[in-house]
Symmetry: C2
Subunit: 334 residues, 2 copies
C-alpha cells in the first residue's frame, strides 16, 4: 500500500485539516465538525446549494464549494456516505431563508441520508429540494436511467446550479436548471488499475497487467466488459459511441466535453483521448463549446478515465460560461 499518509484511520480528517489550512479564505467548518464544510463567502439571500458524499474522489465533492458553485458539503469516510446529521448541519449553515438544493450522486447510502436530512431540515422550517445525478450509461440500460450511478457528470450540475443561484433565482429555478444539466449529461469510464481504501489496505479488485475494464464505476463497481488493453482510439470509441447513442447527441448539437482522470492517468493520455473524441464529434456534426480535461471525480490512485458529454442549449451554455472560483476549480467568464 504505497500512499503518502500517516495512520489510515486519520486519512480523511488529516486531508480535511490540510484543505482548511491551505484555503482559509475560501472554506470554513460550520461548528467543530471537520466533516461539515461551507464556503467562507456565501452571498446572503441566495439559494444554498449543498452536496455530500464519500471521500477519496477529490476534487469531488468538497472541491466544488466556492464562488459560483456550491455553498457547503458534508464529507464522509473514504467511499462512505456522510451522516444525515452532518448534512443537516451544513444545510442550517447555508440556508438564508431562500431554501437549499441538494445535488448528490445516485448511491444508496447518500440517498437514504439526504432524504433523512431533508425531513430533519423541514422540521426546522428549511425548504429543501434535491437533484440526484446518475449518468453512467454503463451502469444501467436506457429506459432504466434512474438506476444509473452518478460520476464525473455531476460537475456540470454543480456548475449550472451555482451560476443560476448567483442570479438570486428561486429554489425551484435553481433545481430546474440543475436537473436539466443532470438530464443532459452522459458518462462512461474505463479502469486500468484498482485503488486501495486506506483502512482496508488492499485493492477491492484486481486487473492483470494487460487488462482494462470498460464501464467500471469510481468505487470499483463492475463494468460491462473486461479485456485486453486496447489502443486509445479504440477505448474512446467503445465509451463514446454508447454515450452518443444514449441521449442521443446528433448532428447540429452543441456540447461540452469533460475528460476526467481517475487519479493516476497523466494528462498526456487524456489529450490523446480528446484527439479521437474531437474526430468523432467532427464527423458527426456535433460542435464543441468547451472542453474540460483533468481530474474532476477521482478514485484516489486508480488509473483510468471517463468521458462525459453535456448537451447544451442557450440557457445551459450561458450558465456554464459564468465564472467560478473554488480551491479546486477556477474558470473565468467564457
Amino acid at each position: 500500500m504505497k500512499k503518502i499518509m500517516n495512520k489510515a484511520e486519520n486519512f480523511v480528517d488529516e486531508m480535511l485539516e490540510g484543505i482548511l489550512a491551505a484555503h482559509p479564505k475560501e472554506l470554513k467548518i460550520t461548528n467543530d465538525d471537520l466533516r461539515c464544510i461551507v464556503s467562507a463567502n456565501k452571498t446572503d439571500k441566495k439559494v444554498g446549494i449543498a452536496t455530500g458524499g464519500g471521500s477519496g474522489h477529490l476534487p469531488l465533492f468538497l472541491g466544488y464549494v466556492g464562488d459560483g458553485m456550491l455553498d457547503g458539503c458534508s464529507v464522509g469516510g473514504v467511499f462512505q456516505s456522510p451522516s444525515a446529521d452532518q448534512m443537516l448541519e451544513v444545510t442550517k449553515a447555508i440556508d438564508s431563508g431562500a431554501g437549499v438544493l441538494y445535488i448528490y450522486g445516485n448511491y444508496g447510502g447518500d440517498i437514504l441520508n439526504f432524504d433523512m436530512a431533508t425531513e430533519m431540515a423541514e422540521m426546522e422550517d428549511i425548504k429543501v429540494v434535491s437533484v440526484v445525478a446518475g449518468e453512467d450509461v454503463a451502469s444501467a440500460p436506457k429506459g432504466e436511467e434512474g438506476k444509473r450511478r452518478g460520476v464525473a457528470g455531476i460537475f456540470y450540475a454543480f456548475k449550472i446550479a451555482g451560476a443560476k443561484a448567483d442570479e438570486l433565482a428561486s429554489l425551484e429555478e435553481v433545481q430546474r436548471v440543475a436537473q436539466k444539466a443532470a438530464d443532459n449529461v452522459r458518462t462512461m469510464g474505463v479502469a486500468l488499475t484498482p485503488c486501495i481504501v486506506p483502512e482496508v489496505g488492499k485493492p477491492s479488485f484486481t486487473l492483470d497487467e494487460t487488462e482494462m475494464e470498460i464501464g467500471m464505476g469510481i468505487h470499483g463497481e463492475p463494468g460491462i466488459r473486461r479485456g485486453a488493453l486496447q489502443s486509445a482510439d479504440d477505448i474512446v470509441d467503445e465509451m463514446l459511441f454508447p454515450i452518443l447513442e444514449d441521449l442521443p447527441y446528433v448532428e447540429g448539437d452543441e456540447v461540452s466535453v469533460l475528460i476526467n482522470g481517475l487519479g493516476a492517468t497523466p494528462k498526456e493520455e487524456m489529450y490523446i483521448m480528446y484527439r479521437r473524441i474531437n474526430q468523432v464529434l467532427n464527423e458527426r456534426g456535433i460542435t464543441v463549446f468547451k472542453v474540460y480535461i483533468g481530474e474532476f471525480a477521482t478514485s484516489m490512485e486508480m488509473a483510468g478515465a471517463s468521458i462525459s458529454i453535456l448537451k447544451l442549449d442557450d440557457e445551459l451554455k450561458t450558465l456554464l460560461a459564468k465564472p467560478a472560483h473554488t480551491p479546486f476549480f477556477e474558470q473565468k467568464q467564457l
Copy 2:
C-alpha cells in the same frame, strides 16, 4: 505498459493534436510544425517569453503558454530537448521587437539548444536573454546551486515573468524578476513508483513495493536516499527541512508553497502533506501567502510529489497575485 495511447512513436504528436483541438482559442502552431506552439492572443509590443523542454511533464512546459504567463513553447519528445531550430521558430513568432526571454530548466540538452537558438536569433536581430531554473536542493549541495536541476519551481519564474511582461516592462526588467523568482525558490521531491517512456516500454528504474526515493528528479535521476516508505509527516520533514535551511527561509518570511503531484499521486495525499507543512511553517514563524496544490511538473504516471517554497518580497507578491489564464492554469487576481 498500461497507458492509454495508440502507437508509442505518435505519443507526443497525438497529444499535441489533442491539446490544439481542445484549446483552439488559446493556442496555435507557428507554421506546420506541431512542436512549435504559441499563444493565440499575444499582446503586441510585449516582451516575448518562451520556454521549451521534453514532453511527459504536463502541464510543464506547454501548459503555461497563455495570458499572463508564456507566449510560446518548443516541445521535445518524451524527456528530450526540442531542437534549436524549433526554439528559433517560436522565438521569431513571438518577438514583436521588444526581445525574447527564455526560461528553461537546467538540463544539458536544453542549455545546448537554447544557447544555439540564442545565437541564431541574434543573427536575425532578435535580442534574447535567458533565465535557467535550477532549484532542486537534492541535486547538488549549497554552494553549487548552478548544478541543480530545474523542477516544479520553474512555475514561479513563468508566473512572475509573465505578470511583469504584461506591464510592458523592458526585457531586462522581465529577466530580472524571473531570475529573482528562480533565485528564491527551492524544491525537493519524493518518488514512490517509476514511469515508463512510451517508446522505451519499460521503467528506467524500479522501486520495491515498500520503498520510496527521496530527492529523485522528474526523469528518474537518482535522489539522496532510498528506503522504506515513511509516514506522510516524516516524508514532509525529510524534504522540507533541507529546503528551509538551504535558502534559508526564516522567521518573519512570507512564502508561497507549491505541492506538485508527479502524476499518480492523489490530491488527498498532497493535502495530508500540506497539513504537516503548515504546522512546520507556523512553528517557525513563516507566513504563507498562497498555496498551490496539484500537478505542475509531472513525470507521466510516476507516483510521488515535490514541495517548492518561494520566498516573497513585495514585488514578487504583487506579480504572483496577478491573474493568469492558460489551458492548464487559471488564477484570478489574488
